[in-house]
């Protein structure tokens, strides 16, 4: 056995099974990449609402520990939850729940006073996520217009 350094952790390399080792690295890369995409999404939301009176908090975290991570002995990861406040009142919360999802990539629960919805990446390009608001009939774009309506409901 030898040790190789990969991003934030050390992975044990099994000389007899290098394929397994690279699979573990791939899983870890995907998780880290997804966490970056979640943070990018939060930056997009903050950018859209930059001129509003909305305050943002990402101080609480949610632990992600999916089957693929357990199978490859990858440690659990903390992913930030995004809370949106107006006048000290919570108006929306974004809770990332996982990367591997049947029929899509990634799942983020969005909670509001009037219920909520799921955000998922429906794109085919891992590097460029296409965040959509899921319903069983159609998927809506999670764009500037949607975000403004989310914080200013009619």
């Amino acid at each position: 056995m030898s040790l190789i350094q990969h991003k934030s952790r050390t992975v044990q390399r099994d000389e007899n099974n290098p394929r397994l080792d690279s699979a573990a690295l791939k899983v870890e890369y995907e998780v880290n990449h997804w966490i970056t995409q979640v943070k990018d999404l939060y930056s997009f939301i903050k950018g859209v609402l930059a001129d509003s009176n909305i305050e943002f908090k990402t101080s609480t975290k949610i632990e992600i520990y999916e089957r693929e991570m357990k199978e490859h002995d990858i440690s659990p990861k903390d992913v930030p939850i995004l809370d949106l406040y107006r006048d000290k009142n919570l108006i929306a919360t974004f809770k990332p729940l996982g990367l591997w999802v049947i029929g899509g990539r990634a799942k983020i629960d969005v909670l509001t006073k009037k219920g909520g919805f799921i955000l998922t990446d429906t794109g085919n390009n891992e590097a460029q996520p296409e965040w959509k608001v899921l319903t069983s009939d159609k998927n809506n774009d999670f764009d500037k217009k949607f975000i403004l309506e989310l914080v200013n409901p009619q």
């Binding site: 809370d83 919570l90 919360t93 996982g98 591997w100 999802v101 029929g103 909670l111 509001t112 219920g115």
Partner: protein, 155 residues
């Protein structure tokens, strides 16, 4: 209105109520209640997933029964009819597992077969006391089940 439309409305009503309570708990920093309602939503997802899958499973089995009955009286060659005749006995039908039924309706390896087989694994995991093996998005599941219910037909 199909059974899936009715179940979807009922699922959405319950999910919405739980989401609102979870959100309210978060806004008041009632972390225990927030976690409790997150868990209730998970259980609700599992319950409605199983409920809906059972309807799809029943449809698939019913369509394969129709297919077997139709094929055994068809104008196919005696060799082909012999296969369907053997399949049509009660003991043969009882021996068919769910994936055998599925394979009679759609080709193994095709997208619909693989999708149903994947949901079947999740169904087994939950039915035997586990959780979802992979996260699901209920709107996607409902949409898939509605479509599969229509296309799974004896042809």
């Amino acid at each position: 209105m199909t059974i899936f439309d009715k179940l979807e409305i009922q699922y959405n009503d319950i999910n919405k109520e739980y989401l609102e309570i979870e959100f309210n708990a978060r806004s008041k920093q009632w972390t225990r209640i927030e976690a409790q309602y997150r868990y209730k939503r998970e259980l609700n997802d599992q319950a409605y997933f199983l409920f809906m899958f059972s309807r799809l499973e029943e449809k698939i089995k019913s369509e394969t029964s129709k297919l077997i009955d139709r094929q055994k009286v068809s104008r196919a060659s005696w060799k082909q009819k012999a296969v369907w005749n053997i399949l049509s006995t009660q003991s043969s039908r009882d021996r068919l597992n769910f994936l055998n039924h599925l394979e009679l309706l759609t080709e193994k390896g095709r997208a619909d077969y693989e999708l149903v087989a994947r949901y079947y694994k999740e169904r087994n995991s939950i039915a035997h006391g586990g959780d979802f093996m992979t996260e699901i998005n209920m709107p996607t599941v409902i949409s898939d089940f509605k479509r599969l219910y229509k296309v799974m037909k004896a042809r």
